[in-house]
Amino acid sequence: MAVDSADSVKSVKAVTDRKYKYGFTTDIEADLAPVGLNEEIIHFISQKKGEPSWLLDWRLQAYRLWITLKEPHHWARLTYPPINYQGYSYYAAPRQSSDAPKSLDEVDPKLLETYNKLGIPLEEQAILSGVQAGLQGNAIAVDAVFDSVSVATTYKKNLDAMGVIFCSISEAVHQYPELVQRYLGSVVPYTDNFFATLNSAVFTDGSFVYVPQGLHCPMELSTYFRINEKNTGQFERTLIIADKNASVSYLEGCTAPQRDENQLHAAVVELVALDGAEIKYSTVQNWYPGDEEGRGGIYNFVTKRGACRGRNSRISWTQVETGSAITWKYPSCILQGDQSTGEFYSVAITNHYQQADTGTKMIHIGRNTKSRIISKGIAAGHSNSTYRGLVRVLPRAEGARNYTQCDSLLIGDRCGAHTVPYIEARHPSIRVEHEATTGKISDEQIFYCKQRCLSHEEAVALIVNGFCREVMQNLPMEFAVEAQKLIGISLEGSVG
């Protein structure tokens, strides 16, 4: 790596790094699959993981379908050059790490250091150790995914003792094959869409959670995704199952080094909530967004979907999207069970040349199902932020209700905010509400804040945080503080 060139280069880098503080790379030897994608690569991945043949077959089916599919370009409000899918390596793993996560003592210290630098503690604290950094913080169990593999999962023993399964999906394939086989692809089938199909063919790791009947998982579970290697794609697969009357809160965080090339991230997340179960899924997405000229950054094409299979089940998505050059993401709920509830709370911030096309789908199938959508889009610089959402009420969904609120905030006059709601209602008894606003930060607000000692950037961060409050208050406390700071950082240099 060209770190030791001229001093001026270093100082320039220091300045740019300040804005994206997770832009460093970890110098660690990696096992890489050869660049490109074909059936051999899929055999290679499956072999590396020692997978059973049903899974290899599933991957191959997906791959064979995928090569016949076209990338969806026609409907999202996104423009980017064609992606060369043969230009990526589809497997990267830190060397010496076998696929199965080891105990923490055996994890490469360089990796532990990386996560430390990212502020993700992989050391297990005594569970009852109370106050940390001024917060009444409960311990959080973390699954750390580095490039294509899970490198560590913390608090496994404590969770095991309660009957909660929390491990990497690779491990789950071996340890709990019947659960994986029953639920994998049951919410997002491999035929679902171009990126989900690609993911099904090449996914390498991700997290697996199963919460048994009647249990409220007492810890926050989280996965922290890190892309490190150059020219790799990250294709993780997460599967969370809450059995009858179980509940779990799950957090997801992501960062990547600062690179000039665009890296590809195409994840699939599937949630299954049975009768009376509740899943709360929160994301703070901070992939590298590219520089001020729009060079580099992650292409983030993600399929996230939850199935409220049981009566009175509930799935709640909360996302704070600040990173990525391109975000294409619609965390959705299939409200199958009667009286089930789906929620989507979203903050999407774009700056410079970032583009986000994000929203949700609420599919009302069961009777008296409810959904609530609160979306806050903030666009600055030359960026574009689009809310795209579908509320579909099927004929059986008597008494279904939806409330949607989409607010957009523009900073400056070169950005765009767009709201594209689709509503399909096929039952006369339902109630669907949609409210949308678009506003700007006014000069009066900025002057008022400056008269109260705030700098321009502090003023913008404060006003934007206020604008997002309804969404932010749904984040677990530990995340909310970070997310608030992140909003300020994302908007640096976005003088209106």
């Binding site: 002057f447 008022y448 400056k450 008269q451 109260r452 000692c453 404060l462 006003i463 206020g466 309804e470």
Partner: protein
């Protein structure tokens, strides 16, 4: 000790002259009132001192504790102790008064090289000061100025002043839209802050406010200039005779 010294200040908005030679000097420990008809330039003067963009100073100077005020950014002016209680305070949805003030107080402390105030300490302090202004906890938790009545907004401005402890405080028609009870509360809030270390500039249309905040000096601003200065008696004279005499010929008050 002189706090603010304005000399022959001329300023325009969109090329239109508003201030046409204002000269005014305030020392710490003093309360000055500026009165005058609508459109005289009273609010312009206070906003210009606070650093609002959109004004062009064509000539003249403002010294603030010996510094060139016009060279300072709005936030520098605020951090060094210039405060403006707005006539129309803006709304900031989703940001509570308490959060807003904590952010402001900490920004000021950082500027002055002090450590940030801790949450418990802040909460105690703001409750204490709010109580004196008849503001309850609920008001501190509500979004800043959103859905506040006129009286609540003005009290909130005074609360902010009390928290930021300015060196030079300007009140821009703080009495407008206030009923008599709110007026008394606001005035006593201001009086409690009068000190030998602080100067006040009270802008008002009416003499009524000055019954409660008794000024040391009264100035009449008309047609972009201070046309007359006097003591508090001048306000009474204005109340009786209106501004007309001051806009047409010279002032006879002492």
């Amino acid at each position: 000790m002189t706090c603010i010294e304005i000399r022959d200040l001329h300023a325009c908005i969109d090329g239109r002259p508003i201030l046409k030679g204002v000269t005014l000097s305030l020392s710490v420990g003093e309360v000055h009132a500026i009165m005058g008809p609508n459109g005289a330039g009273k609010s312009t003067l206070s906003h210009l001192i606070a650093g609002r963009p959109g004004y062009e100073v064509t000539s003249g100077t403002i010294r603030y504790d010996g510094r060139d005020l016009l060279a300072m950014t709005p936030e520098e002016r605020a951090c060094t102790g210039i405060f403006l209680a707005f006539q129309y305070p803006v709304e900031i949805p989703g940001v509570s008064t308490a959060t807003f003030l904590k952010t402001a107080v900490n920004a000021q402390r950082r500027f002055r090289g002090k450590t940030e105030i801790d949450a418990m300490q802040f909460s105690k302090l703001i409750k204490e000061k709010a109580e004196k202004l008849g503001m309850n906890n609920d008001m501190l938790r509500r979004s800043l100025n959103v859905g506040f009545s006129g009286g609540e907004k003005k009290r909130n401005e005074i609360l902010q002043m009390a928290m930021l402890e300015p060196r030079f405080a300007m009140l821009d028609e703080t009495d407008s839209g206030l009923d008599i009870d709110s007026l008394k509360i606001v005035a006593s809030g201001v009086n409690a802050l009068r000190s030998a270390e602080r100067a006040f500039l009270v802008i008002t249309h009416y003499q009524r406010l000055l019954e409660y905040i008794v000024p040391d000096y009264v100035h009449v601003l008309a047609e972009g200039r201070i046309v007359c200065s006097g003591n508090k008696e001048l306000a009474l004279e204005l109340e009786a005779g209106g501004y007309a005499p001051f806009t047409t010929h010279a002032c006879h008050a002492s």
